[in-house]
Amino acid sequence: MTEKAVEARKKGQRKSSDDYTYVGMVFHRLTRHKLAMFGAFMLIVILLFVFAGPLVWRADPNEQIEGLEGMFNVPSPAHPLGTDDYGRDVLARMFFGGRISLFIGFISAISSTIVGAVVGLVAGYYGGWADDLLMRFTDAMLSIPTFPLLIALASVMGKGIGQIILVIVIFGWMIDARLVRGLVLSLKEQEYIEAAHAIGASANRIMWRHLFPNTLAVLIVSTTIGIGGAIIYEASISFLGFGVQAPFASWGNMLQNAQQFIWNSPRLIIYPGLAIFMTVLGFNFFGDGLRDAIDPKLKL
């Protein structure tokens, strides 16, 4: 901090550390983090686009224009992003596809975190053979390359939005479980847990009232970044033909559809891919900033 900033503080224009609550401090640091704020900005723009877009630009994403003139139109006032191989308005499909992709990403990430947190909490707290077994199992699962595994499960479970969410969650909870378990193991040794035991707190109470709140920060960061990952998984799975099926659009299956037209209408690939990229980038920037804000000393 420069001498100028020191002067500004003396004039009461900036507060010092002592004046904030924990959440306040986190928020304060977060708002200063350039990348995080940029990420938040990106996300807000995308959310507006996806949810408020159809209010501004009313077109039916599934309405097909018959005939050759309808196909692969270049962007025009009638179709700002052009049309696809069925003559459907690309912009409208982007709105609704985005909603589905975001929905899947969000639900998958939150579910994974919840399941993972509960499992990790219990395993970390109770320890013993159940914990060992669990760790072996997750170790093994984490050795299997994720993507082929996802496709394997997807091919077995069938296609659809619900199935995709299930597939992502089935393998997603493990990372959170390990994270939480590790955290619980180290927190368990601290004196305030010993004190809670000493005054007769039950296991449940210790787990939920004392350990869990301390894992919240890490879980929030993990979920935020997990949404980005889930969106990419959805896109990849849909890209290969599993996952979201017609008539629903998702950014992933728009890409799958567009792949064959790479030679004559490359913009069909650019739009959804760019959207996915920007969304994940936004979540990653924000999640990373969140992590820094929660514990700047972590510097990861």
Binding site: R136, M141, L142, S143, P145, P148, S236, I269, F283, K299
Partner: protein, 328 residues
């Protein structure tokens, strides 16, 4: 140290077992594995029966698993449904080295870029270089690999062309047809142009993460007391960084690189598919898509075992590199 190695090797066994069970288990969930074949009017019922028997589908699941397990271990991997007439074993053994080559190359490229960048970022913390590296890392981590692959393909094969009119870089495959018997160097040069894009695409996604990790590892190490001691001794700054700090900072990187492997192999699967590279990844995906479950099972199991073995090697390297573990 020896005990450590023995323990780790023994620890591998349950992991491999679980992986085999999971691989088998997932595909057992398929309600009707031979549905596609049954519908095909050209395939005789008796052939299907033969297949059912060969694969043990007439047995309850636990017996089926043992039958499969013993078959796999003996090397009898059955016929390939993807390429009728060939043995699964042949198909897989042709695909495996390709993937290994691509992965190995990606690995080398990623490491040799990520580590120096991470170190420079750490030493020049908060500088413009650091900032740029951070942003680019994020780009790499957020970009869907297959989309990036497609974009690269569009750029280098569709938009950019050589004087002859051919694409600047080939859009797929690993070797120009007809050059299979060419001398080593010609083959090498030819192969290189096919691998440039896929390796670049794959490396781009991991370089970012690794550089950031290296950066944070270095930052952590530079803060340590023994670095202060080194400076107080009068060691020149380059020695402080490259000798005292680096060696310590590299240790956790070993673990990180080992842990990233499943992700890279997974990413390779879809990249291989896009760039038409006949490796394990695209094989597994193709098998899954075309319902060749036996091949998919074995393929999945194999690459997982590869990852597990690689992790073991990484653990041993880690123990060797950190004297606190080596001598205890």
């Amino acid at each position: 140290m020896r005990d450590y190695i023995i323990r780790r090797v023994l620890g591998m066994i349950p992991l491999i077992l679980i992986v085999m069970i999971v691989s088998f288990g997932i595909f057992s969930l398929v309600p009707n594995p031979f549905a596609a074949l049954i519908e095909n009017p050209r395939i005789k019922k008796s052939d299907i029966q033969r297949l059912i028997k060969a694969w043990g589908f007439d047995l309850p699941w636990y017996l089926r698993f043992f039958k499969w397990f013993s078959g796999v271990v003996r090397g009898d991997w059955g016929p390939s449904l993807l390429y009728p007439g060939s043995l699964a074993r042949d198909i897989i053994s042709r695909a495996l080295p390709v993937t290994v080559r691509v992965m190995g190359l990606t690995f080398l490229v990623s490491l040799s870029i990520a580590l120096p960048i991470g170190i420079i970022s750490a030493v020049k913390q908060y500088s413009m270089t650091d900032y740029i590296v951070t942003v680019v890392s994020f780009l790499g981590m957020s970009m869907p690999t297959f989309w990036f692959g497609l974009m690269m393909m569009m750029l280098f094969s569709v938009v950019l062309k050589r004087p002859s009119g051919m694409p600047l870089l080939p859009a797929g495959g690993i070797i120009t047809p007809g050059l299979e018997e060419a001398p080593f160097w010609a083959k090498l040069g030819d192969r290189a142009q096919y691998l440039v894009m896929p390796v670049f695409v794959l490396a781009f996604s991991s370089v970012g993460g690794w550089a950031r990790y290296m950066r944070s590892s270095m930052l952590e190490v530079i803060r340590q007391d023994y670095i202060r001691t080194a400076r107080a001794k009068g060691a020149p700054e380059h020695s402080v960084i490259n000798k005292h700090a680096l060696r310590n900072a590299m240790i956790p990187i070993v673990t990180l690189v080992a842990l990233s492997l499943p992700g890279i192999v997974g990413g390779a699967a879809i990249t291989e598919t896009i760039f038409n590279i006949p490796g394990m990844g695209s094989l597994i995906i193709a098998a899954e898509v075309k319902s060749d479950y036996p091949t998919a099972m074995i393929g999945l199991m194999l690459i997982s075992v590869l990852v597990i073995v690689f992790n073991l090697v990484a653990d041993i390297v880690y123990a060797w590199v950190d004297p606190r573990i080596k001598y205890s």
